[in-house]
Symmetry: C2
Subunit: 347 residues, 2 copies
DNA sequence: CTGAAAGCGCTTACAG
DNA sequence: CTGAAAGCGCTTACAG
């Protein structure tokens, strides 16, 4: 079975021409006669030639340089793992990834980093925009300069980015609604706690939730929507007040990553753990702990690993051979974490 | 930032010795003086040398040949995708994967294939044993001959396989129990339908389910356990009988992949869809359809993609540099598919 | 034990 | 437009 691979040399010998000419024909390079080219292509086809990528790498010494700009929180670690895994056995001689860390919601810092990245030579950029509008100009600037940009985790929809890679926030909201509906067996009264009601991703996570309830669980009612400004303390006092004032609340839906800790504390103090169903986002350690002690009923994850993997894959394929992503929005898995499977999802 | 990579040539020049000698020192090859070797290693360290894998690939022409033996059902497609994705930009000149298809439960055919694979030269084998005991001898034989074997999807625990890659069936059963408990709000009566009660994986999926209920939902009772012999028709009549004889059944837990279709038909005829909670395994098209029309409440997936990916990764690393897998059992994700997120899990 | 040289499959100046 | 040759970084017979 050791069928030797066909090489350019084989084609050259079969045709009695030079290897350089074969290469030129194969790659559509300038300065080659139409007839020779035809002959080479035909022979290549006949012999079943396919280029040896390894050799190409070696001789071109090509290295794709990609800059990733994201907040440095815990999701990031997983994103990084995923990005690296794209390389598998290769090393950074082939794809070089440079990580730049911003703070959450810090659009100013993000702009600075983006500018400095543009000043240096990069072949592609992945960024999680803190603010879709503020970053838009810089993204478009990069694209105009021929540097592809993908948004990951958060989007800047109106920009000229190659694509968005991350969760579909409406579907994520819907699944939260489905979980709530199924846990409450189709009946009850719930509240929603969001970070900032005017931030798009939060708005959509609420829209999806509402849609799902209206369509499939009409007897579940949304009592009220609250903002905790991504602050655990605020989430705590909101929950505390609700528990005191309203006795009929059976579920809490949080669209914010920092909220669960505060909500959990309030529930524990009121000894309501488990009897009130809590559904929230992102596999942070504190949240996982609460899932395990049943303070939280379900956590929805957004598969940061694939976000990293896809970012590199899509940028690489576009940079190397202009291949377009399969879609304008590449949605990652919506994971459902319960007490019993959460470890298998975060390992 | 274009810091040129350090090569063997650089080390040779710095030390005024030949490149062959540098290579010998770096790779611990025979026939080299102790002092020279020390010097080379020290200099390599000083200059920050790291080998160029690309060049190594090219010159050695090394190709790792891996045979995968699995049933050819639908899970398989995903396994294949995952396996291929390990290569990323590389092609089969580096890792060559040969697929061999058996039928489910056909241990005889599997043995034949395994024998023919052993007769040819392969560097590693991945297999999903239909029967853990029957295959054991052949697995051990391969390992004795120096060919590493991993089991994927199903295990042969007593064999000398390198490791098992797949779902942890106890955890999978537990999560089914958790879902049932949460959907029934901790109270009710359920039945279990399994394929063959004496097949290990099914036994463990039931054990886990039972454990979870006993620990966290003591007021949910298992009414009875039935065998459908992986046959949709049997599942149908079992369900039909149950629905007629017992009015208080509120949940059905299936450990078998072919059962859901039959159960669903019986439920539809009895107009009990949705009111009886059905929890089952594996993202087959029919099952997904029933999830979407709410005949089935939740489906548990075993991440076949990672099973493929990990199989190649672990075999490759062992073959190329004797690296052992992280654990004797590499457990893949336990996915929970509901109506709203199932598409994101199977795409 | 060490060196000089060929070669893996490709690309790319450099001649002509 | 085409060819001859060098070279990417490594490994491996072959001499000595």
């Amino acid at each position: 079975m050791l069928k030797k691979n066909v090489t350019q040399k084989d084609i050259a010998q079969a045709l009695n021409i030079s290897r350089g000419t074969v290469d030129r024909a194969l790659h559509n390079r300038k300065g080659i006669g139409e007839e020779v080219k035809e002959k080479v292509l035909a022979k290549a086809d006949e012999l079943g030639y396919s280029p040896n990528i390894i050799a190409q790498f070696l001789v071109t010494g090509r290295s794709v340089n990609i800059a990733i700009i994201t907040p440095g929180d815990l999701l990031w670690k997983k994103v990084k793992q995923g990005a690296k895994s794209f390389l598998s056995v290769l090393d950074d001689r082939v794809v070089n990834i440079k990580w730049h860390e911003t703070s959450v919601h810090d659009a100013v810092k993000e702009q600075e980093i983006m500018k400095s990245v543009l000043a240096n030579a990069v072949d592609g950029i992945g960024i999680a925009p803190a603010d879709p509008e503020i970053l838009r100009t810089l993204i478009d600037e990069a694209v105009k300069a021929g540097i592809p940009v993908v948004t990951l985790n958060t989007d800047s929809p109106k920009s000229r980015r190659l694509c968005y890679i991350g969760q579909d926030p409406i579907s994520a909201g819907r699944i939260a609604g489905e979980l709530m509906g199924k846990f409450l067996n189709g009946k009850g009264r719930v509240i929603v706690i969001t970070a900032f009601a005017n931030v798009l991703v939060h708005k959509l996570r609420i829209d999806g939730f509402r849609q799902e309830l209206e369509t499939h669980f009409p007897r579940i009612e949304i009592d009220s929507i609250h903002e905790d400004h991504d602050n655990s303390e605020e989430a705590y006092s909101i929950t505390k007040n609700i528990l005191r004032e309203k006795e009929d609340i059976q579920g809490i839906y949080l669209t914010t990553g920092n909220g669960p800790a505060g909500v959990g504390r309030a529930l524990k103090e009121a000894r309501k753990c488990g009897s009130i169903k809590v559904i929230c986002f992102d596999f942070f350690p504190e949240t996982i702990d609460m899932l395990k002690d049943s303070t939280v009923s379900a956590v929805i994850g957004q598969d940061p690993y694939s976000q990293g993997y896809q970012t590199i894959k899509i940028l690489y394929e576009f940079i190397v051979d202009r291949r377009k992503p399969p879609s304008d929005s590449v949605y990652t898995r919506i994971d459902i974490g319960l007490r019993g499977n959460i470890d298998s999802l975060v390992s």
